[in-house]
Symmetry: C2
Subunit: 191 residues, 2 copies
């Protein structure tokens, strides 16, 4: 290969999201947190910085925002940078541990769409204790995104590991962002 071997890569948030996170965010309640996440997904489409997905990690008890992520696959040429993976990586970096369970607090991951197979696994390893989803797998697949091998047993596996799963929170609003992306001519990268 003519391209040189790479030994470091940097994962960044888009500038508009950095600005949005410049002041602390604290939100209580699943619907209000989901509304925040859907707003980020919509902004990711509007700014053309990636796919129509966003996710955020909140401290469960007081609702402090720990991290937020938006789909960055096309922006950073990295297929693993789904919104959930980005949010979880930044949360772990912030608390300084590879597991959010070690930090003496409980954390929720709120995602605008049910996780694909990769993200479901990443959620399992992340140490979050609660997963809150907006749009469904069907909603994502209707606009052309593949979610991969996720089965009812996959969710049962998470539950057995102590992760509570809440689904279809503001589903219609979350699904509308997917349709909006399709109409805007966005790239469906896992078609």
């Amino acid at each position: 290969m003519t391209e040189p071997m790479i030994s470091a890569l940097t994962i960044t948030l888009p500038d508009w999201l950095k600005e949005r996170l410049a002041t602390p965010v604290q939100i209580q309640g699943d619907e209000a947190r989901m509304r925040f996440v859907i707003e980020l997904a919509r902004a990711n489409v509007a700014h053309r910085t990636g796919g129509p997905f966003a996710a955020a990690v909140f401290r469960s008890d007081d609702g402090m925002l720990v991290s937020a992520g938006v789909n960055s696959v096309t922006r950073l040429n990295n297929a693993a940078l789904h919104a959930e993976v980005v949010a979880l990586m930044f949360a772990q970096a912030r608390v300084g541990s590879y597991t959010l369970r070690a930090a003496g607090a409980s954390y929720d991951l709120v995602t605008s769409c049910e996780p694909c197979a990769m993200c479901l696994g990443a959620i399992l390893w992340s140490g979050v204790q609660r997963l809150v989803c907006g749009a469904t797998r069907d909603d994502a697949e209707r606009v052309g995104f593949d979610e991969g091998p996720v089965f009812p047993e996959s969710y049962a596996y998470l539950e057995r590991r102590g992760i509570t799963v809440v689904r279809q929170v503001l589903r219609a609003e979350a699904a509308e962002v997917l349709d909006r992306y399709l109409r805007s001519g966005g790239v469906v990268y896992n078609g």
Copy 2:
């Protein structure tokens, strides 16, 4: 939270691996490629830079090494940095695309152990066309690692998407590295 919000994070290879990759590597044949990957897994244990897992992306036809990754969960405090994810991220960065299918060549991922649920999903999205595994899920679980919700249907899903899967290449040698890690007192982070 007292820790400031983070908006960029850098993923690095350990120094010993950077040195190992300083000169081009070209290897033909699954067993020879697996031997290289097992050597990296063993080195990751010896240098105490992470879990006993390594992976590498090779160009299928001529065996040029595109990227290599080792488990970096504990070193970089990032639960998503399994060996496969690291190798795939660096491969995509090197070819400058979020899918290895766009690059006009076919690529193999060779991994010292069958992928966990997260990595199996990441492999699906990566664009590799062939997956070669050493140790088995059972080998990993015997030393205490959880592999998550991976089912026979998960592999069938990959195959339907055009990914050829080859398993148990040098299985005994690959599994020996897992035992070695356990004996060395390494952290089993997904116990």
